[in-house]
């Protein structure tokens, strides 16, 4: 199944926000669509898949997940824990001495609530663009990703992520009439990346984040092959 195509169709729900992205061009995607659009018998993850296929699967998964997160942030159900409390818990997670299990226990209700979803169409594309600019300001330099983006245990990454979260929250507050009702609360929960299953801070998957991931996959493609093949042998 062409997961990359699924990812493209998922981000397609948010129209120009992704389609005006630098990677959304025929040069980059046309060949992929031509090749994968009609392919049904080649499967990703099999040994022998080339690096490009693996990179496309990875990127497709990320795009799908990014839109799903935006749907979760648009959930219309009132969250059981509100923003201020969530931000305190997020700060507590950064304290090495804190009891992580106890903190996770406090978030049990939010984990369940975060399974709910709203309509991704509720997101104003200009607000997504502003959030995207925040990512660009904090995680890139001259259009290129900083070397520490998506790096675990990197103080620069952690520091910039804290600023990014503050900026995103400010945007959601400033344009509160134009964002989903509980977006600030659910974003505060999402920003506790340790609870979301990530090994490092993960900004919202807006268009430049996808661009950066595409750049990194291109740059480190041999690495993706080696790691993927090794993992497949272990599975």
């Amino acid at each position: 199944m062409p997961l990359f195509i699924l990812g493209l169709a998922m981000v397609g729900q948010l129209g120009r926000h992704y389609k005006h992205c630098p990677w959304f061009t025929v040069g980059r995607l046309g060949g992929m669509l031509g090749e994968y659009g009609g392919v049904s018998d080649r499967q990703y993850g099999k040994m022998g898949c080339d690096a490009n296929e693996r990179a496309m699967k990875f990127l497709g998964d990320f795009m799908t997940e990014s839109v799903e997160v935006l749907e979760k942030l648009a959930n219309q159900q009132e969250p059981p824990v509100r923003r201020r409390e969530l931000e305190k818990i997020r700060d507590a997670f950064e304290d090495p001495k804190s009891d992580k299990e106890a903190l996770r226990g406090q978030l049990a209700g939010m984990v369940t609530a975060f399974e709910g979803r709203g309509d991704v169409g509720e997101w104003d594309l200009e607000i997504l663009d502003r959030i995207d600019q925040c990512f660009e300001e904090h995680f890139t330099s001259e259009g290129t990703a900083e070397s520490w983006v998506f790096m675990p245990d990197d103080d620069r990454n952690l520091g910039r992520y804290a600023k990014y979260c503050g900026e995103v929250d400010r945007i959601l507050l400033t344009y509160s009439d134009a964002v989903p009702k509980y977006a600030r609360d659910y974003f505060a929960f999402y920003s506790i990346w340790e609870v979301q299953g990530y090994a490092f801070p993960m900004p919202l998957g807006t268009s430049k984040v996808v661009s950066v991931l595409a750049q990194l996959l291109e740059r480190y493609q041999p690495g993706v092959i080696e790691v993927s093949c090794l993992l497949m042998k272990l599975m």
Binding site: M1, I5, L6, A9, K19, V26, L29, L33
Partner: protein, 100 residues
């Protein structure tokens, strides 16, 4: 040239093709949207044919429309992880695309 008063499911769309004013009616499904996109392409004047970029966007738009139809019913299939079951129309749309 095509005019879209409000590009939503209930929008009334009017198109002008070869000087004939068309009233497509309500955009209620992928069929109507596909018709809108077809009409919005100028296939008569070689200088104004859709660019490759526009065709790419068109392919993604068509698949996105099919995905939206599938996602309307996907909430009843929480335990399902087969994409062909979750998104049947989308998968059929992908299958129909010619292989290069």
């Amino acid at each position: 040239m095509i005019e879209v008063s409000n590009y939503s499911d209930n929008a009334t769309t009017k198109g002008c093709l070869l000087g004939v004013y068309l009233n497509i009616g309500k955009l209620e499904g992928p069929g109507e949207l596909a018709m809108l996109r077809y009409l919005s392409r100028n296939q008569q004047k070689s200088t104004f044919k859709a660019t490759d970029e526009e065709k790419l966007v068109e392919v993604v738009d068509e698949l996105t429309d099919l995905l939206k139809v599938d996602r309307g019913r996907v909430r009843d299939l929480e335990d399902e992880d087969e994409l062909e079951v979750l998104y049947p129309k989308f998968c059929q749309g992908v299958e129909r695309r010619p292989s290069h």
